[in-house]
Subunit: 249 residues, 2 copies
Amino acid sequence: MLKKERQAYILHQVNLHNKVLSSSLCTEINVSEDTIRRDLQELAEEGKIIKVHGGALSHSFNEVSFPVNGVYSQHQKRAIAQKAVGLIQNGMFVLTSGGTTIMELARCLPPQLRATFISGSIPVILEYMHHPHIEVILIGDKISKNSKITVGSEAIAKIKQMKPDLCFLGTNAIDAEHGITDNDWEVVQLKKAMIESSKKVICLSIAEKINTVQPIRVCGVQDIDILITELPPGSPSLSPFVEAGIRVI
Amino acid sequence: MLKKERQAYILHQVNLHNKVLSSSLCTEINVSEDTIRRDLQELAEEGKIIKVHGGALSHSFNEVSFPVNGVYSQHQKRAIAQKAVGLIQNGMFVLTSGGTTIMELARCLPPQLRATFISGSIPVILEYMHHPHIEVILIGDKISKNSKITVGSEAIAKIKQMKPDLCFLGTNAIDAEHGITDNDWEVVQLKKAMIESSKKVICLSIAEKINTVQPIRVCGVQDIDILITELPPGSPSLSPFVEAGIRVI
DNA sequence: CAGGTTTCTGCGTTTTTTTGCAGGAATTGC
DNA sequence: GCAATTCCTGCAAAAAAACGCAGAAACCTG
């Protein structure tokens, strides 16, 4: 078999099945593994395939990604996310809501972290999937197209069965008097369930959203264990929360 | 034998078999390898053939083997998808697997269609979410990072609770004798459940995957109701499936 | 047709390409 | 951490290609 022919066969197989194992290829074509490896390497250099340990993947399959278009206040959100990752330890079960702050958190996870992350938000789940070690559990149910998360009784029931160690909530509005509030009824139902199930509730909020109120109530301040903002913990605007017994980071 | 005669013979052989070996040519025509090599070189310079180490290939060989589209065989997959959408009617519950063929189906859905689509594949779900009217139900569970779908007992249990009207399966390999086969154990478990639950099972497969076999069995041909390929239904390669009682489109 | 020129062909040698193998390093999974 | 793969590096053998050359054939051309 000629070299080009072999490479054409390999490429064909990759495109057909989205992946190939070097071991199976070398028995199929009946050449040494080194030859296969060199072929895969050449094809990878030409950009035809993606070489991975033990074989190769089709390029078209890996193209699912989310645009990182101008997230509002990204800098502050990154600061919040970096404080938040400090709370996550190996082996923990972590439940998260959706939202851009949580997206930022997902991007900040240290590569060596081994934990289990649970969410119903599609964009967040996509971000978790890029991480090498974390387990990702997706809450299923009807999808709310505008918030891009799963909502409904099935999702709520599933959350109530769990007892995650941490629950990170991206917030729309938080106020020392009214607690966390939001404007989407279905999302609020979900967040209520998340708070109820979790051992520790961590609220992520940029300073702008502090002391703002939305129509639907999620929970009171007494249900929040930790509040993370981009501000230093001693900031005056945060003192009402400290007084309410919340740990502010 | 004259030079022109020889080159005509070589060209004929290349077009006939898509490849020639210089070694076999030089015994057939009974000239030295150098002569053959010079002939091949001339033909290559004229663009009639593609010279490779050890022989030559026809140009058509190279074209079919190295597609330039993003998704492999996208044209064929679109043809399949367009046949498939014809089966979907307003109000139906449709369960789908993952894969690029299903992705194509998702993109082909007519904008005025009102139906409910259920899947555990993240890329496919993203595609459904762009549609203005369809309801999207996401099957939740642990996410398999390489296949980008939810797998596990929760997902299977959820599927078994449903009774969708249609089930579209993207296939990795299908054969009249062995039925549908695949190479990922967890995905196979899921597909089995999907087949079991659904009123009608529709198998989408590009012709290339017909009569190929993978290590793990999903189901036999008797479980398939409809088979859709890019070929016309009367094609000879499809007759074994027609004889097995499958409706071929 | 004779002589010169060009083209073609085969041979020996050198160079390049390809392939497999052995070892040590890196990685993956348990 | 340990065992098992898998990967990389250098190396050597085999195959193929390139090169130079010379004899032979074909082809002008007067």
